[in-house]
Each structure stands twice: as C-alpha cells, then as structure tokens.
C-alpha cells in the first residue's frame, strides 16, 4: 500500500467525509490549531529567545525548562491532535500539497534539533545555566529552532492556497515534488 492509496482510503472513511463536509467542526478544529500557536509557538519562542540571551536573562535555563516546557508539551498535544484531524478531513489534497511537504520537512528538522539540544548541547548546562548569554552551541540551537518553527507556521498557512495543487497546470518539477499522479488529475 502506498502512502497515496492510504490517503485515498482515509478520504473514503465515514468520519473523514463528515469532517470535510461539516459546517462548524472543521473551522473549529482549524481555529484551535491556529490559536494554539499562542501556547505552542509562543512558549518555544520565549525559550529560544532566552537561549539567545534576548529575554529573561536573569532566569536560569533549568527553571525555564522545568516551568515553561511542560506548557510547550501541552501546546504540542493540541497541535498534533488538531493537526491530525485537519489532515484526516482532507487527506489526498494535503498529502499532495507542496506546502504540506515543506512543512513536514521543517517539522522533522525542528524535531531533530530538539533532540540534539537535549542530548548534546545541554550536556554541560550546569556550567552555563545562569549565563545571561548562553554559549554559542546553545544560541545556534535556538536560532535553528526559531527559523524552523517560523517555516512550519508559514508553510502551514500556505497549505490553504491552491497555487501548486495537482489539479492545476504545474511544471514537471512541482508535479514531481507534490507527488501528483496523472490518472488522479484526469479523473
């Protein structure tokens, strides 16, 4: 089973159709997804700005981690659950969306960056926990995080626009990048 046929199967399920055609449910989930930026991206931005030494310089990194990151995790739970529902409502078009694909790539890079930060960069955190301006590696990590999440937000917003949709004339490159299938487009 290819990913595309999986998405086609998803689209054929009862709940996917119901969600897609719902008058209030889809907009409500979409709005929750967007408003949760407040919590999710907001706390990420503040943690990263702290790591850059741009805000809350007097607060130890360990305290920010302990007291703020749980809120980021709560935000992530809202983001992922509403995000999955949004995908589930429009599976095939989203899977073949160029913007969605960019968003996933940036998400993966952001996730790897988080992993590296917690596994490697933070190893000697005790040495710089209270530094007003953390060391270079921590600042690079924060900068990567800010740029990747900004990309995720921008690409996420662009999914709504159909410029690069498979059912519009596209260059071969876009066609390939979006995973468009001729038979589907003609159908």
């Amino acid at each position: 089973m290819t990913l595309l046929s999986f998405c086609q199967w998803l689209a054929s399920t009862k709940w996917s159709i119901a969600l897609h055609e719902s008058f209030y449910m889809y907009p409500l989930i979409e709005s929750t997804h967007v408003v949760a930026l407040f919590l999710f991206a907001g706390t990420i931005a503040m943690v990263d700005l702290r790591l850059l030494g741009a805000v809350f310089r007097e607060v130890p990194i360990s305290e920010i981690n302990a007291r703020i990151l749980p809120w980021t995790v709560a935000g992530a739970v809202i983001m992922v659950s509403t995000g999955i529902l949004l995908f589930y409502a429009i599976p095939v078009r989203t899977y073949q969306s160029l913007w969605f694909r960019f968003k996933v790539v940036f998400l993966l890079v952001a996730a790897i960056n988080v992993w590296i930060f917690h596994r490697r960069v933070q190893k000697n955190r005790a040495d710089w926990d209270s530094d007003r301006r953390p060391p270079f590696a921590a600042r690079v990590s924060a900068l990567i995080s800010l740029s990747m999440w900004a990309g995720v937000i921008v690409f996420g917003r662009m999914i709504a626009y159909n410029w690069f949709d498979c059912d519009r004339p596209q260059s071969d490159f876009v066609y390939w990048l979006s995973g468009c299938v001729v038979e589907l487009v003609d159908a």
Partner: protein, 155 residues
C-alpha cells in the same frame, strides 16, 4: 460620510489595492501575522503564567512583566503592521463581518486592559487572588482576539 463610505475609500487606498492585486502579498502578510501571534502569545504567557503561579517562580510578576514588555511591543508592532494592510485589502468585507467587529472590540479592550490596568496593578503589587484574576483576564481577552481573528476568514 458614513462608516461604510470610509471603509470603501480605505479599500480603494494605495495599500489596499496593492495587497488585493498581488497574488502572494495577502498570504505573506497572513503568515507574518501568525508569526506575530506566536510572539504575542509567548510574551503574554510568561507573564500571565507567573501571575497565576504556574510559570517561572524565581522572579516576581513585575520583573517578568518588565522583561517581556519589549517583546510584547515588538509583537504588537508586527501584528498591527501586517494586520492593517490585510484589513485595507478587504475593508468592506470586514465591515459586514461579525467576527471582525468582535475581534476589534476585544483588541481595544485587550490593549486598554493590558497597559492601563494589568501593568499598573502589577507594578503596584497585588495579592495572589488579584494576580490570578489579572492573568486569567489577560489570556481570556487575547485568546478572544486571536480566535475571532481566525474566524473572520470563516464567516
């Protein structure tokens, strides 16, 4: 001149036309508006969580408020700087849009509340119950701004 006349002429303004006639300007402004929303969320939350006793504890609410303020102002600048051209490009649609007026009312309340009530009260010092109330109100009003703002596109 009625308010609708005003909105009609705003829509015909240079910036309104520029955004409306461009394919990518409106989406780009929207995207940056969302980045501004994120920054706004962070700079409000770290203060409001502190007020509620759920955030950073080693610094006082006032210290958190003072530290976050430049970022709060930057986020508001980004939001207004992108929000105004978005509005100008479809002012008449906004005029007839219920969510737009909910958002603008909440925004006015949010700005007045934040700078004329929340910040001064924090500066004067308040008992924990009052502090918690300040935080709840702040999150309530600003989340209304964000939610109603998103809903402009649905209604």
């Amino acid at each position: 001149m009625s308010l609708l006349d005003l909105f009609e002429s705003l829509e015909q303004s240079g910036i309104g036309l520029l955004v409306r006639e461009s394919l990518w300007l409106f989406p780009a402004l929207e995207a940056v508006h969302l980045l501004g929303l994120s920054l706004l969320g962070g700079s409000l939350l770290l203060v409001d969580l502190r007020l509620l006793g759920l955030g950073v504890r080693s610094r006082t609410s006032e210290q958190m408020m003072v530290a976050a303020k430049p970022w709060l102002l930057i986020s508001l600048l980004i939001l207004i700087g992108t929000g105004v051209p978005l509005f100008l490009s479809e002012a008449v649609k906004c005029y007839y849009n219920y969510s737009f007026w909910v958002k603008m009312s909440a925004l006015a309340i949010g700005l007045l509340y934040t700078f004329l009530i929340k910040h001064p009260v924090i500066r004067r010092g308040a008992v924990p119950t009052v502090r918690a109330g300040l935080g709840i109100l702040s999150l309530g009003v600003w989340l209304t701004v964000a939610g109603a703002g998103r809903w402009i596109g649905f209604s």
